[in-house]
Each structure stands twice: as structure tokens, then as C-alpha cells.
Symmetry: C2
């Protein structure tokens, strides 16, 4: 059978998303279940890929299929392409597998030409409307298809308004618009050397090509990169017979969610504009009315819409984001899709729907983007400071969270300032896709115009950035770079303000923020995640404060306590420097004795927080030169302070200098050379546990982790020191205490010889940061730009330091897991690199059978959710 | 059956080396085939290991077995331990699996006590001899068993000589010696608090323990490390009834080789001392006579010895190194073993024996230590310079090769000077095992005393260092650190001299050396190696001169031509710096155009040498900062020279600075960022090949190697540039030219994803230097000391940069080979790291199925031999 590249709406279903795109599949589905959808057809994503394969041409067989579908459309609607009597007009819209709002191009009113516009005028008995539609179509066609700058058309249009001395577009007459149409056609002739195409079939093919092209416009590429959407998917094209929300006061257009996408409240939520086309709502040009107020003007249509909304939510078992048009009191559904929502709303909706019996717990768990959870963990303003804060204005609470920053008025300025390390708020009249980079760079976004579904609001929610939108109490001048509030306050570029995206409030100056906590629906969902997941979630924490934070977010232990951070404190660093400068073991031991009480105190504090939960403590890891200055003047200063000669200190600095410290003398290599360091640290680790046992009768289970092992003999060597020291202390104490000795797997060779290493190691913790550096031969400090460049060029799919490189590093991890279990079937396996907090990497960890992941305290809930999702998606047999 | 720890000589055979040690197995073998061997028994290496396992004690069951064997020995010899009538005296000697000459301890005359010494005196009718034997035994026992410093005994002995006013030992009378014995026993009582043990069985057990202990003395450990002998083997102990070469002028002792160990000449070669014990020959204290001169004094014994020597060589099918003693005209064989020999001798002997039909070609190939071949490739003195050279003295040509260097007189001074980068000659009166470190550090060794089998000679030959021994024409004062030659010349510490170990000549000052070549027997052997080996051998060469050198040594292609070395030349580096400083592609291209003719010329020169042989050319690899200075004053100078501002140059230097350049922006990463570099290099590579084809009609097969690939997309990216450029040039030229594009496998991830990479790569070359650094997380620049420490502590078995780490890096190589072949069954596989010249690593390469190894030109013959040996040892099925 030949491949089918074009599907009528009644030939598809919601399962055919990959082929028809999200919009096309849902239009087909709505058609299938009998909802009022203007008829049309979809050109598949495969046609798009063929377009690119065939050097950006549309094959004749596809054009033939399209023409056939047009015939069918003419039959169904009784209208005819290009006809003066009953002209068929269509919209042409992109529709990719994953929603990419506003990223690609749309053309309306296609089919209008010098004949059919007359037909439209007669049929609607509204010549002005017909002419306005035609001039909009030409302009859109010029812009999108022929790539003529919008401003060329604006000059003509604004010129006519000036000539006529009118302020609003509606004040222009049909005759004015006819004159504009002539001039528009002139622009097209001038720019392309050809006449504006009168044949609707030609218009259509060109429009289809333009949509295909738009898949690879810069905005779309950036959006896909940000949202990790593969470039290979391609977009479908939906061709649908037009309905008009702008046919006067019995017409209108709306956008609505079945539940509130900001709060999750189970109540229809949306906006409606009378006498407008759909794009007017999305673009945020006019501020629309609340959907509930639609009832007054359109009681029948509203009632039907509510019924359809309810039906669609039950049908899709998820919140629906719908677009519709009322043409002369008749309701048409133009789109439905699962609604984007804030994290807060996502949580509430998932919990509510589960309680309503619509979905089960596993489905509820899958309804959240783990990275979105981040939003719930964003800071809010300190309540006390907020009381005293100076309110400037109020807008729409478009995306929750709170942020303070310096105001910048263009994406470019915002990016530059952020690069300079400033905290930035992007302030715009309204945002457009061109502002994306600035939004990425900003802490939050403030716009003066647009609603809850405006570009700024949608994108900010997607990014988890706080946003106050449609703040009509301020006037934003992008030209003079000032905000002028109704209350008289003026802010210039670089002034600090604070915005609260949960309340819509805008404040003067910077306000202190406070940390969030896990409660309510979120806690419920976390509990479900806990029931479902297989992976334990620990946190990386180096001190009692971080440990407490981690615990409050639900950490089940500490997966990585770095001991070296403890040494950098002012009181301690002199002792570690003394230790480094020691010429004999005795001197070194003396210096270490100074450090021990501090270290023991640190561990005791952490144990007191974590109680019986496991705590993995890593022995000293960094190269010793990190504790010494490198510049001559600093060396001189330190020498004076330490009472040693400059030359001696300088000599030590030079001796310790390394060309490639990443591959140098650190980790267990230090402990092999200076076993006394391991002795002191073991004494502190075990000593603190003994104290806690004696004082509070709590059984501590320290896991002593020996870093940077590449060969089992290294581990044996250091382990011998650790075990001897620990056993001595335990014997002396007269109490019983268990402890484990394990290692990081962070050198490729450790993974390759994990069977050997497991003979000595009671646990493995994958240090995927360093493992990635060595396995890929990429220094994280040196190749930031390179990696960005590689991701841009698609040489790498992801930044391997954010998401684990499954094909390379992942292969080593898998090998190490298999080899380790071969030697020691019950070996404890965890990960403590930054990947431990990355959802995709967590899924990998689940699949390879690790016991836990460890991440920064703030990512614990994300990790738990990701772990639960991994368990749902990949049940362990 | 219980394990047997003690074997009589008639219970073993030469196959039992692992258990009986080399010496013990050969004594058993000689006994078995009926040769005159003084009877005895061997305590096994397993007993030694048990000794260490059981905390350095000898188990009672082993002592019981020994006592039983003593009884047997008493029965066989008719003598009795401790008897005054007919005392049994024994030697106690170590004997490990691999010969470790002089490294462990030996005790002679054991069994003497106050009674048996009288018996010996009577039996031999030589009281002086008996007393001298007794005092020697006490001294040896005190030194070796009781660890009392030799000097304590020397003081007594020298004191007696002084008291008597005599010069030579032999001038002391039996009475004098009796007095000395009393004093010696006093020393032992004083040092140990116990009397010198009179019970021979006690003496024996203590002696056995001492031999076991000597397995782990420092010298033995160092020797094992140098010779890569496992510590776990342990030593056997041989207890043998004594025969005396020092029973007057009808007695004597000798050491001989069945063929000349220095030249390989098929003629008995050795030394003989009348009226001496064996140790006197080996220690080099007295200069012995040539073995052939033994015939005059001992015609019968000499005839028998020649017969036995011939028999042993035929029996063992290898050159034998024998020790024997003549006691009152009767010949006794004390030892036989395969003789150590110079590389030159090894080659001649292997070829001769093959031609004689004694061995086959494969055996001949196995008869050479590949590392020994190095000796044949050592330089000799330039003939012209040699004519004008100022001869100082002549000695024995103890180990071939020629060297110039500054003279140092102690091992310590030699080591220090060598560490400071000086070329050193170690000059000693005679060497002892304590001098080993100094010999390692030196270019060559010169001794004033000792023969061809003296310590210095044996060890130097083993090391492949040139050595002139027994140079009696010079007087060496280690105290004043001077050489005084008979011709009046005086050299002080630090003066330059030259020695020729092939001629025995010593010259004033430094003399130019010339490179060796492959000819004669060596060429024959190499030809046999070529017939047998499976691996091809290429060389690493960056210029026509090195390529020619490689070719003369038999290289079959170039496995690695590093293009960056070409840029460091004075005329070229400005252009590469210009290229680095370019702000635009255009500027960069302009700078590269300056470099292209140079580069193309280099390649043309190399092709002209290599002709049709494959040449692998690696694209630019090092990070760009290597081409710029780093210090401010150098930057300033260069800025002036280049006519750019200091600030601009400094900014570039800072921009390019990397914290971990090993993992930074180099290799293919440069070509991804700056494709124009790859374009220029490809143009030069292909352009030169086209020129050669047109001018000389030679088909060049360039293999273009893209370095540091970690991900196939990197390779695709750069390959696209290379192929486009190459194909364009070839099309323009109108000729046909084949070329390959491949990659280095030097990043762990490349090995892990070799199946992917093989889709693009037509060949893999394993860059095991960098692969080792990354796989082990060991920076070669920073961890030299650490690796030494690790090898000392046995954490690592070998320096992984010398011998491939089979368990780690080797595993990756194996994976990459398997994955690569999976995708591209005929993929060409080679290695170009330094391991390509290391025999053990070459065996690994053979086993995993590489096609070739590439090494430095001088190591090509070694690699060929190692490859042939690998093929013999591991035939590919």
C-alpha cells in the first residue's frame, strides 16, 4: 500500500499524534466523537520530513492528494475554492507532535482572491468585513509565505489611517481597505517580482511550504532545544475550513481550560473576545473578558461549550485547553489539547482527579513534569519584609513564585546583564517569541498587556519562572527604558523591583525570599511517589543545616557528605595548611589533631539531624593545592601569617602545582601517601557516632566512602587504615557500632574492574561528574563553550553534565553494576553526581537497578517524583 | 597425600623449577642424567611461602623432613653432621624460579663446629685450611644469619694481620686463625647474647630461615622489580654436601659458558681459579685465568668438563652457564643454568643453533628478550672521531655498546647527577649488588677489577648497558673520587670519558656516536620474525629523516605522523600564532595559507621515503595555547614581534588557558570549531600525494586520522570537511587517488561506542597514552612519583604508561575491537601509543587481533621480535 500523506479529519484519531501532530490528531478525535469541528484535513509530519529530504520541495503526489482533499472539503461544505458565489476559505496551521505555542506560522482566510472576496462580501452582507479579511490575508501571506517584512505593510496601513485622520482600524471603510489591498498587492509585486497569486491552490501549496519551513525557524529550534523536543519529528499542517469570530456581535472567539491552569481549581477558566478572530486572544493585543461572562451574550453557545468541555476532560482524562469560535451564535471547536499548567495546578489537578476516580495514582504521578516541581520549591517573599514592602502595582498572577531583580527592557539587555551576573527582571509591554532568550535569562517577567494565556504567561509557566502579566497599572516604555506606574513611581533601567507571580503584585526594591516546604496536595502526591518508587532518594549535604533542609524535603539519608568543605572555614584552614607544609609524619599528625575536634563536631551535628538514616561520608578528595594560594602576593601574605618563609611556601605551592589536577594527586591517592589523614577522618567519623550512641542511644550507620579509586589495591590499602582505626575506636568504646566502607566509582577503570573492587567495597556510589569528565575526556571547567557548541551543532544530544550520557558513561555504570553484583550480590549502589537530581538520569538509575540517588536538598522532591515515574514507566520484573 | 616440602636431588628433574627453583631443578636434572654432583636436597619454594604465611617460622614438619634428608645425606656420603671423625659439611644456597644472581644469601661450610673442625683438619691433613674454613663459616653465619655487620669481623681479622705485620690473608697461621675464631665467637655472643650454635642442625635451620628472609631483602626486591619477577614465587633452599676448591693446588673452581656469552662464538668460555672457593670467582676479588688454561693444570678434569658441557648444552638445547669445583683433581658440577648473554650473542647463538639443527626457527625467536635487542640498536662511536680519540686504558669488553658521560664514583652520586639530567658513567673499583641503582642511572659502567662474569659484567649485560670491566690499567679511588690511569691521565668527578663495551677501550672526553643497523645474523633473525609474526610493525615518525630511520629498521609504514611538530619550527610558528589570533575565518584562512606549502612539503618528503607503504597522518591535536607563551615577559616580546598589543595577546592567552588541558579543547574539537584548519591540512596531505603520483607515478595511500573523537557525530562532522576537501582536490587533479579516514581511539567513550564510531571510521588507531590517562584518571605529567610509589607499594603491578594496563585499558581496547569489527568487519586496527614498542603490550595487541603496532623507529626490530614471539606463544586459530 502506498504511504498516505494526507488525512481527512474523519480518518484520524487522537492516537495518531506522531503522524498528524497534536492539533490534527485532536481535531480528528473531536470529529470522531461528534463535536462541531469545521471540516478539514491534515498533511502528515512524514510529508514534512519528505519536504526536507527532497530539498525543500513538496512532491507532486502530495499536491495531488491535497487537491483531492480540497474536492472532498468542497463537497462537505458545499463551498468552492475561489468561487465568487460561495467561496471556500481555509486556515492553514502547523501542528507538531508536541505543542510549540506560537513558535510556528499560521495563515488564515486562505482562498480569498479578487473574485472570492466579492462572494464573501455578498454572503456576509458585510463588504467591509470581506475586504478586511482579504487585506489581512494578503498581509499574512506576504509576511509568512513570501517573507516580506511586516513593516512594509504597516507603513501602508498606518499611512491610510493618518490620511483619513482616524485612530482605530475599525474606522477605516471598505473603500479604504480596497485601496490598501491594491497597495499591498503592489508591495508583493515589488518584493517578489510576481503578482499576488489569485489561484487558491497555488496559495495553499505555498502556505503548506511556509508551515514546513517554519519548523526550522530560529524560534522553533530554540524552543525545541529548551524543551528537548527532537528535531526529527517534523510538523503536520492542518487545513480547515474557516469560521469567523469576527462577523459582528453574534460572533466571538475564546480560549478556555477545563480547570484553572494556575491554581488547579476545578472550574472552567478562560477568556473570550466578542467579534474577534482567535489570534487576537492569543496575541494578547486586546484584553479579553472572563469566559464566565460569555454566558450573558451567548447563553446557548456557552451552555453547549460547558457540556463539550466536560465531555472532553472525561474523554481525555486530563485538563483540556480548548480554542473555539462562535460564528453567528453557532459554536465551533477549533482545538483541544492537554492544558499546560503551573506546578501548583498540576499537583492539585492530579490529586483531585485521582480523588474523583478519573485517574489512578500511577497516572497522577505521571501527570507532573519533575522539572516543573522546581516551581513549588521556589522561594516566596519573606512575610515580615512583605508587610513593609512598597506596592507599586498589581497585574495578573500569571506564573507563581517570587523574584527580585534589576529591570531591563529588551531581551538583549536582559541577556547581557544576566551574563554580567546581575539578577534581572525582563519588563515588556508584551512579549513575543523573539523575547525568548531574555525570558530564559531573567529571574521573572513583567508585562503591561496580555492575559493569563498571553505569550508571556504561557511561556513563563512552562519555564517555571514567576510572571506578572497584563499589569495595566504600569506604563512600559521600551524606548526610554522606564516604567511609569499609575501611582507616580518611575523606574529606570537597572532599578530593583520585586514581583510575585502568585499574587500579581509588583513592589519597589528587592525583598528577601524564604524557602518553600512540602505540604497539602504536594505532600499527598509525594506520599504516592514514595509508595510507587523503587529508588531511595538521599541528599548531598556537608553540614547540619543542609542536612536539616534535605530532611524537610524528605531525604532518606545523606548520599554524599564532602569533608573538605569543612576545612575551608576560617578557623580550620590554618591547620590544614600546616598539615600540608609538614615535613614529617609527626608534624602532620599534630596539625591533623587540631582539625579533628572540628571535624568530629561536624559529623556529630549531621548525625543528630539524620539519626538512624544512612550517612555517606567521603574522605578528603581535592588536591592539596586547593588549600593554598597561587599568586605571589597571596603566598607572601600567608607566609607572614604562618610564620614561614615565602620561599618555603612558594616551593610547596610549586611542588603541588599540577598541569591536570583533575587527573592528579587527590582522592584516595592522598590517603595512600598520607594515611594519617584517613586515620584522623576515620576517628572523627567513628568517634562522633560513638558519642551519639552514648549520649542519645541512637545507632548511627556511617558509610565511609573512599574516593577516586581506580584499582582495588588502592582501596585495600586505604580501607586497611580505615578499618584498623575504626575497629580500635569501637573496641575502646566498649559499644557496638556498625559501619560500611565503600568507594566512589568515578574513574573509568573503577567501572571496568568493578568485580575486583567489589571484593573490598561494601557499596558503590557513582560519581558521575568526574566519571563523565574522564569518560568523555571533557574538562567541565574548560569546555563549557564547546559543549554548548556541540549541543547546538547536534554533535551531542544533551549536555552530558546535566543528563547522563547513556551510551558512554551509562554503559560504564551498567558494566559496574553487573560486575559489582557478580562479586557481591547485595552491594549497595547509589549515585551522587549532579545527575542524581536529573529526571532523565534518574530513570536511567532506576533501569540499571541502583538502590538510591543522591542530589542537592532542593531537588529531593523532584528526584522522588522522577523515581516514581521511572518505576511506573519501567516496572522491575 | 601430604605435601612434600623437601626433595633429594635424585627425586627431582628440570621440569620442577617452580617447586625447586632453577638451581635445585638443574642439580636434580644433572644428578638424574648421571653427572658428578655432590649429593644434597632442596627445600621447596612452597616452604618459603609457608614460612611467610606462618609469620616467618619454619614449621616443625618441614624441620623433621630436613632432618630425615640429612640422615640420607649422611648415608650417601658416609659422613656425619658434627662428627669429629668424618664431618658432613654442607652449603646452603638460595635458588629461585628465575635466576637472581648475587641477590640472595649463601652459606658455606655449614656443619663446622669446635669438634668437626678438628675432624676436617685431620682428614685434609691441613689444619690451617680447616681453621680458615671455620672462621669463614662463623663470619658468614654472623653476617647472613645473625645480621651482624661484616665490619665487626673485619676489625678483628685486619687487627690480627696488623699485629702479625703481614699483608696477605694466607700469611696468617692456623694458630692465628684459631685466635680469630675465639674472638669471632665473642662477637657473636656480644651481639646476640647467645653462644655461636655448635649443633649443626640448629645451624642449618637458622641458615634456611636466613635464605628465606633474603628473598625479601632490599636488593632482591629491587632486582625483581627491575626484572618483573613476581614477589609471590618465593625461593627454594639447596643444601648440598661441600666440596672444596681451596684444598691446595690440586683443587680449584670455575665458571664457564658453553658458548661465548658476549659474542655468541661457539667455543667454551669461562674462568678458573686454582685453590679457591666458588664465591671468589663470582665476587671478582681475584682475577681468574681463562678456562682454556685450566687444561694445563687439570688435563683430566678439563677433558671431563668439556664432555659434560657439550652434553648439557645438547640436553638443555641452550647455552649453559655452569659452576664447578675440582677437589683434589676430581670434578664436581655445582650448577648449570641457561646462560645470560648479550643481545649480540643471543642473536648469533639462536641463528647458529638453528643452523646446527639443535632448535627450530620458532624456538630461536623465543630465545631473545625483545628488550635486549635494544642493545643491538645502541649507538657505536663514530669511526672518524674514534681515530682521533685519546685512548686512556683497556679493560674487558664486558657488555657491548658505547657511551660517553661524566664520571661518578658512588651509586648515590651517579643517581643524583642523572636526576639532574647529566649523562653519567659509574666508575667503581668493583661493583656489588648495592650499586644497582647507580648502574640503572648510568649510561655505562667501568670497573677496575673483576672478570667477564663479575657482578658488573653480568648485571650490565642484563640491562643492556655498555660495560668495561676489570680495567687493571686504571686505579679507581672512590675516596678521592679520581681515576688515575697507568698512562698518567687523571680524571676527577664530573670529567667526561667514553667507554666502548664491545672493545673494552676507555677514551678521554666525549665521542660522537653513530646509529646501528640491522645486518648479519640479526637480519636473519628479523627475517624469521617477519615470517612468523601476524602483526605488522609501523613506526611513529613526523619527518622524512625519522621515516628513513624507521624504514632502515624495517618499518612497514607510518602509524603516527604528528602534524603539530611541524608547526613548532621557527619559520612556521609565526603563521600558526597569526592563525590563533585571527578574529575571523578569513584571517585564519590567510594565516593557514602561509603554513600549507610547508606542510605539503613535509608530507611529500615523507611519502618519498615511504613510497607505497601506508602513512597515517594525524590532524592537528594539541590545544592552541601550546603555541603561545604563558609568561608576561614572553608575551610582551611576542606581541612586539607580531605587532599586536600586549593586552590583545595576553587576552588570547588567558582565553585559551585551561585548567585541565588533557581534557580540554584539542584534537577534533579544534577541527569542529575551526574547520578551515582541517581543510588546509587535508589539502596538504592530498596535494602532496597528487604531486608524488604525477611526478614519480607512485600510488600513495594516505590515512587521515582524526584525533580525540569521543562521539561519532564529532567524527562525522570533521570527516565531512576532510572528504569534501580531498574529493575536490582529487577531482581537480584528474588522477585517481585512494585515501582512508579514520580515528584515534583515545577517549574511553570512543572505545565504549566503537560500534557507532566504526560507521564513519575506516580505521582505528589506539592512542593508549591518552587512553591510559583518562581510563585511570592519571595525568602522566603530574603522577610520576605517585606511580613509582604505587609500583613500590604493589598497588600497581607495572607502570601503566610502559606496559598496557590489561585489566582496565586493555578491557576497553578489547571492547573497541569487538564493537568496531561488529560494524565494519574489515576495519584496520592499530596502536600508536608508546605501548606499541613494549613487548608485553605487543603480545596483548596480538591477542586482541590488531593489525599493526606503531612505535618509535628504534623500537621497530624489538616490536617485530615481540610480535613474532606473541605469534609463537599465542597462535591465532
Amino acid at each position: 500500500m502506498e504511504k498516505k500523506f494526507v488525512y481527512s479529519f474523519n480518518e484520524g484519531s487522537k492516537e495518531m499524534k506522531d503522524l498528524l501532530g497534536g492539533k490534527g490528531a485532536n481535531l480528528a478525535e473531536m470529529t470522531r466523537i461528534g463535536l462541531p469541528v469545521p471540516f478539514g484535513f491534515t498533511i502528515t509530519t512524514e510529508a514534512c520530513n519528505r519536504y526536507y529530504e527532497e530539498k525543500e520541495t513538496v512532491a507532486q503526489d502530495i499536491i495531488d492528494d491535497v487537491n483531492e482533499k480540497i474536492l472532498e472539503l468542497e463537497n462537505v461544505t458545499g463551498k468552492k475554492f475561489g468561487s465568487q458565489e460561495n467561496p471556500l476559505l481555509v486556515s492553514v496551521r502547523s501542528g507538531s507532535v508536541f505543542s510549540m505555542p506560537g513558535m510556528m506560522d499560521t495563515i488564515l482566510n486562505l482562498g480569498l482572491n479578487d473574485q472570492s472576496v466579492e462572494g464573501l462580501a455578498e454572503l456576509t452582507a458585510n463588504r467591509r468585513f470581506a475586504m478586511d479579511s482579504y487585506r489581512r490575508f494578503i498581509q499574512m501571506f506576504g509576511d509568512v509565505v513570501l517573507e516580506i517584512s511586516k513593516s512594509a505593510f504597516d507603513v501602508v496601513f498606518d499611512g491610510k489611517k493618518l490620511e483619513k485622520g482616524v485612530k482605530y482600524d475599525v474606522e477605516l471603510t471598505a473603500e479604504d481597505l480596497e485601496e490598501i489591498i491594491v497597495k499591498y498587492k503592489g508591495i508583493i509585486k515589488e518584493h517578489t517580482g510576481k503578482d499576488f497569486p489569485q489561484d487558491p491552490k497555488v496559495q495553499l501549496v505555498e502556505a503548506i511550504k511556509a508551515v514546513f519551513r517554519s519548523w526550522n525557524n530560529e524560534r522553533a529550534i530554540l524552543y525545541r532545544k529548551l524543551n528537548e523536543i527532537p528535531d526529527s519529528l517534523g510538523t503536520a499542517v492542518n487545513v480547515q475550513s474557516m469560521v469567523f469570530g469576527n462577523m459582528g456581535d453574534t460572533s466571538g472567539t475564546g480560549v478556555a481550560f477545563t480547570r484553572n491552569p494556575a491554581t488547579g481549581e476545578n472550574k472552567i477558566f478562560g477568556e473570550f473576545l466578542v467579534n474577534a478572530q482567535g489570534e487576537d486572544v492569543v496575541a494578547g493585543v486586546r484584553t479579553p473578558i472572563n469566559i464566565e461572562n460569555m454566558e450573558q451574550a451567548f447563553p446557548e453557545a456557552y451552555k453547549e461549550f460547558l457540556k463539550i468541555a466536560d465531555l472532553l476532560e472525561k474523554h481525555y482524562k486530563d485538563v483540556q485547553d480548548m480554542e473555539f469560535t462562535v460564528e453567528r451564535n453557532k459554536l465551533y471547536m477549533l482545538q483541544t489539547r492537554n492544558g499546560k499548567r503551573t506546578a501548583q495546578a498540576a499537583v492539585k489537578i492530579a490529586v483531585d482527579m485521582t480523588n474523583e476516580g478519573l485517574i489512578d495514582k500511577k497516572t497522577a504521578i505521571l501527570r507532573l513534569e519533575p522539572s516543573q516541581i522546581d516551581q513549588l520549591l521556589h522561594p516566596t517573599f519573606d512575610a515580615e519584609e512583605l508587610k513593609k514592602a512598597d506596592l507599586t502595582a498589581s497585574g495578573l498572577p500569571a506564573s507563581p513564585g517570587a523574584a527580585s531583580g534589576k529591570v531591563y527592557f529588551t531581551a538583549e539587555d536582559a541577556v547581557k546583564a544576566a551574563e554580567n551576573g546581575e539578577k534581572v527582571l525582563l519588563v515588556r509591554e508584551e512579549t513575543s517569541p523573539e523575547d525568548l532568550a531574555g525570558m530564559v535569562a531573567a529571574e521573572g517577567i513583567l508585562t503591561a498587556r496580555g492575559g493569563m494565556t498571553s505569550h508571556a504567561a504561557v511561556v513563563a509557566r512552562g519555564m517555571g519562572k514567576c510572571c506578572v502579566a497584563g499589569c495595566s497599572e504600569i506604563n512600559v516604555s521600551e524606548k526610554t527604558k522606564t516604567i511609569t506606574a499609575k501611582n507616580g513611581t518611575i523606574y529606570n533601567e537597572g532599578d530593583f523591583i520585586s514581583i510575585d507571580g502568585s499574587t500579581g503584585k509588583v513592589y519597589r526594591g528587592a525583598i528577601k525570599t524564604v524557602e518553600p516546604e512540602v505540604s497539602g496536595d504536594f505532600a499527598t502526591l509525594m506520599q504516592w511517589a514514595d509508595e510507587i518508587r523503587e529508588l531511595k532518594v538521599r541528599a548531598n549535604a556537608d553540614n547540619p543545616k543542609d542536612a536539616a533542609q534535605a530532611l524537610s524535603f524528605g531525604a532518606e539519608g545523606i548520599g554524599l557528605c564532602r569533608t573538605e568543605h569543612m576545612f575551608f572555614e576560617e578557623k580550620r584552614i590554618p591547620a590544614i595548611r600546616r598539615m600540608i607544609l609538614s615535613d614529617t609524619v609527626e608534624e602532620r599528625v599534630k596539625a591533623l589533631e587540631v582539625l579533628k575536634p572540628f571535624q568530629q563536631g561536624d559529623f556529630k551535628g549531621i548525625y543528630q539531624v539524620m539519626k538512624e538514616r544512612p550517612v555517606t561520608i567521603r574522605l578528603l578528595d581535592p588536591p592539596l593545592h586547593e588549600f593554598l594560594p597561587s599568586e605571589d602576593d597571596e603566598i607572601s601574605q600567608l607566609a607572614d601569617m604562618m610564620g614561614v618563609s615565602f620561599d618555603r611556601l612558594k616551593a610547596k605551592v610549586l611542588e603541588l602545582h599540577e598541569l591536570n589536577p583533575m587527573l592528579g594527586n587527590r582522592g584516595c591517592r592522598l590517603a595512600v601517601s598520607y594515611p594519617e589523614i584517613a586515620v584522623m577522618q576515620t576517628e572523627a567519623i567513628i568517634g562522633a557516632a560513638i558519642e551519639i550512641k552514648k549520649e542519645e542511644d541512637i545507632d548511627i550507620l556511617p558509610e565511609i566512602m573512599i574516593p577516586l579509586v581506580g584499582e582495588v589495591e588502592e582501596l585495600s590499602n586505604v580501607k586497611a587504615t580505615v578499618v584498623e582505626t575504626a575497629d580500635r575506636l569501637i573496641a575502646e568504646s566498649g559499644i557496638e557500632l556498625e559501619y560500611l566502607v565503600g568507594t566512589m566509582i568515578e574513574i573509568p577503570r573503577a567501572a571496568l574492574t568493578a568485580d575486583e573492587i567489589a571484593k573490598e567495597a561494601e557499596f558503590f556510589s557513582f560519581g558521575t561528574n568526574d566519571l563523565t569528565q574522564m569518560t568523555l575526556g571533557l574538562s567541565r571547567d574548560d569546555t563549557g563553550k564547546l559543549i554548548t557548541n556541540y549541543v547546538d551543532k547536534k554533535i551531542l544530544e544533551n549536555d552530558p553534565f546535566q543528563t547522563i550520557d547513556v551510551n558512554g558513561v551509562g554503559k560504564l555504570v551498567e558494566m559496574a553494576v553487573a560486575l559489582g553484583k557478580q562479586t557481591r550480590p547485595k552491594i549497595k549502589l547509589g549515585i551522587c553526581g549532579e545527575h542524581g537530581g536529573d529526571p532523565k538520569s534518574i530513570e536511567f538509575c532506576h533501569k540499571v537497578g541502583l538502590n538510591y540517588v543522591s542530589c542537592s536538598p532542593f531537588r529531593v522532591p523532584i528526584a522522588k517524583l522522577a523515581a516514581a515515574q521511572a518505576a511506573v514507566k519501567n516496572p522491575i520484573e
